[in-house]
């Protein structure tokens, strides 16, 4: 049966970004209703019981995060909406903000009501000018209609939403980097604890949530827990710590496919189906070699590698839910951004591009990350010039294994994300790198791009 999109239901309508159409489609009824017959705790309970997990990358249960706020805090409590969507090859939040900003804004209103916040800071990356202006117009419409500001829908709920623009730095997507940037400082992530829920923006309790998460909150409050749980994948009974992968998910498909597109599907669709069906297959009649399943930080899937214990299946068949990518050595679901690499592309060039990104975007605060990402890029520069050495492969994996918050050498997870694509590429495509060392031929891209001011 064909899945009918919910989060993306309105994006093809004319003027889908405007208040009038959104309200005609039942918009803002969920918050209006909640203000009448639900206490903030009821909203938290509904989101928690629906099993919503954050859509920004880490997959932390949203309702549970909200309960970490101090009880009976006199305020202010802040909500920060993370629209610094900068994970390479990810663009689902952009579609939501540009095409249906009110669905996101209603989720923000519901979240703020739930966590007793009267101020939300909406941090939008600079590169999303169109989304920024769509949000700006939508927020102006809400103020004009009396749906933001004081006494919303005649209740005693007050809310202001402040749009804030970034300035082109990937690290601002890390929640405490975002908070530092919002406060007007260098976007250096903070040491945790304290987590933002205890001490966040302006040293007040703060919740940081992703844009798609906010849209899911709107739909959970409108359609209920049963609807949300009817989609996706229940918890793995063999894993008591698994919170399940419920609900719809926006998957973005990019790279070597016929039809790069953002699609909404129930959580758990297979990588193969996403690429072959929704992305129109690999471009130019070629075959896929590698796939990045959830933004660069997650690492690579080897399309031809057999899947252990599953006869006839390969890594290409993993489900894209919160557990799927982990089964094949990737870091996780991440942003569910799928990037396909065809069989005529050199993994040396791909990995060079990846290390170039993380070296450029390391914020420089922690030495292992700043130096490690730089070393990995230098090694890949050498590879690209045809001068890779056999020992380089072990050095790359060694560096990749040692930098990050998981090995405990850095403050934030940026360098875990820098390491994962390196180690998965080398472990899974080692023979290709060894052949590159043997041949010693420079890549067609061997002319290095000029490096200007990394941050």
């Amino acid at each position: 049966m064909k899945y009918e999109p919910i989060l993306l239901a309105r994006i093809h309508k004319p003027n889908s970004h405007q208040l009038e159409g959104y309200r005609a489609d039942g918009g803002y009824a969920a918050i209006e209703q909640a203000l009448v017959d639900k206490k903030p705790a009821d909203v938290i309970a509904q989101v928690k019981d629906a099993g919503l997990r954050g859509r920004g990358g880490a997959g932390f249960p949203t309702g549970l995060k909200w309960t970490f706020l101090p009880k009976d805090h006199p305020g202010p409590i802040y909500l920060c909406v993370n629209a610094d969507e900068s994970e390479p090859c990810t663009y689902n939040n952009r579609i939501l903000m540009e095409k249906d900003p009110h669905q996101v804004l209603e989720g923000i209103m519901l979240a703020c009501y739930a966590i007793r916040s009267e101020k939300a800071f909406f941090y939008v990356r600079y590169e999303y000018g169109t989304a920024y202006r769509a949000l700006e117009a939508a927020i102006a419409e809400l103020y004009a209609a009396g749906l933001l500001g004081k006494n919303i829908f005649g209740s005693d709920f007050h809310l202001d939403i402040v749009l804030h623009r970034g300035a082109g730095a990937y690290i601002c997507g890390e929640e405490t980097g975002l908070i530092e940037s919002l406060e007007g400082k260098r976007a250096w992530p903070r040491i945790k604890p304290p987590f933002p829920a205890i001490e966040g923006a302006f040293r007040k309790p703060t919740i940081v949530n992703n844009v798609e998460t906010m849209a899911c909150v709107t739909q959970i409050m409108r359609r209920g827990i049963d609807w949300f749980k009817s989609l996706g994948v229940p918890p793995d009974p063999k894993n008591p710590r698994d919170a399940g992968s419920y609900g719809p998910k926006l998957y973005t498909i990019a790279g070597h496919v016929e039809k790069p597109v953002c699609v909404e599907l129930p959580m758990g669709v297979s990588l193969r189906e996403l690429v072959e069906v929704h992305g129109g297959g690999v471009w130019k009649g070629r075959k896929a070699k590698a796939v990045n399943p959830g933004g660069l930080s997650m690492g690579f899937v080897d399309v031809l590698a057999p899947l252990k214990g599953e006869d006839g299946k390969t890594e290409y068949d993993i489900p894209l839910d919160f557990n799927g990518p982990g089964k094949v050595g990737c870091l996780g679901l991440g942003t569910a951004a799928v990037t396909v690499i065809d069989d005529q592309t050199s993994m040396v060039d791909v990995l060079h591009n990846v290390t170039q990104f993380f070296s450029h975007e390391s914020c420089g605060q922690c030495t292992p990350c700043r130096e490690g990402t730089g070393w990995m890029l230098k090694i890949m520069e050498r590879f690209r010039r045809g001068l890779g050495r056999r020992e380089d492969l072990d050095i790359l994996v060694d560096v990749a294994d040692r930098i990050g918050i998981i090995p405990g050498t850095t403050i934030c997870g940026l360098s875990d994300g820098a390491g994962w694509p390196v180690k998965t590429a080398i472990r899974k495509f080692r023979s290709e790198f060894e052949e590159a060392i043997r041949k010693g031929e420079p890549s067609r891209y061997a002319k290095p791009l000029q490096m200007v001011g990394a941050h």
Binding site: C89, G129, Y170, G184, K185, Q356, L449, Q450, H455
Partner: protein, 160 residues
């Protein structure tokens, strides 16, 4: 003599009530000044700091974190800023070739401005326009599925 106009100072002051601390207006103020004056001079940093009741070094510290802002007069932005995305999704669909083409066509390297002062060319890390790769960011708007011809058309339009 003030380098910032009264108008821009007022627009910066107007943002103060939106935030619990004045320092939070640092990035918005830098954007406003950078947009209008095409760089943020040391004098402008001092004047922003005065409005925000900060030491100029605090504003400078924040500004230099973001390679986005141009400081020197000699690095002043052109009329428009064109960023060519070099993220993986764009790279896989011809971004490096597109960067070469743009550098060649405009006679500048990334980070430089054309002699007529019209176009500052830059490369960008992933701009989130992967469904239209290779993509360009024209100031802050995406231009999707950019061929060399489409890039030439964009440059001609900017120079008109």
């Amino acid at each position: 003599m003030s380098v910032l106009s009264e108008d821009i100072k007022n627009r910066i002051r107007a943002l103060l009530p939106k935030y619990p601390r004045k320092q939070a207006v640092t990035l918005p103020a830098l954007h406003m000044v950078h947009d209008e004056y095409r760089h943020v001079s040391p004098e402008a940093v001092v004047e922003i700091a005065e409005i925000l009741e900060l030491h100029p070094s605090e504003v400078q510290d924040t500004m230099t974190f973001y390679a986005f802002f141009k400081e020197k007069e000699s690095e002043k932005l052109g009329k428009e800023r064109v960023w060519v995305c070099r993220g993986l999704a764009c790279m896989l669909r011809g971004a490096y070739e597109l960067i070469d083409h743009c550098e060649h066509k405009l006679g500048v390297h990334c980070g430089q401005t054309t002699a007529d002062g019209k176009i500052t060319l830059e490369f960008a890390e992933c701009i989130g326009a992967c469904d239209g790769a290779p993509a360009i960011l024209r100031n802050d708007e995406h231009v999707m599925n950019v061929t060399p011809e489409k890039a030439d058309g964009l440059f001609a339009e900017i120079r008109k």
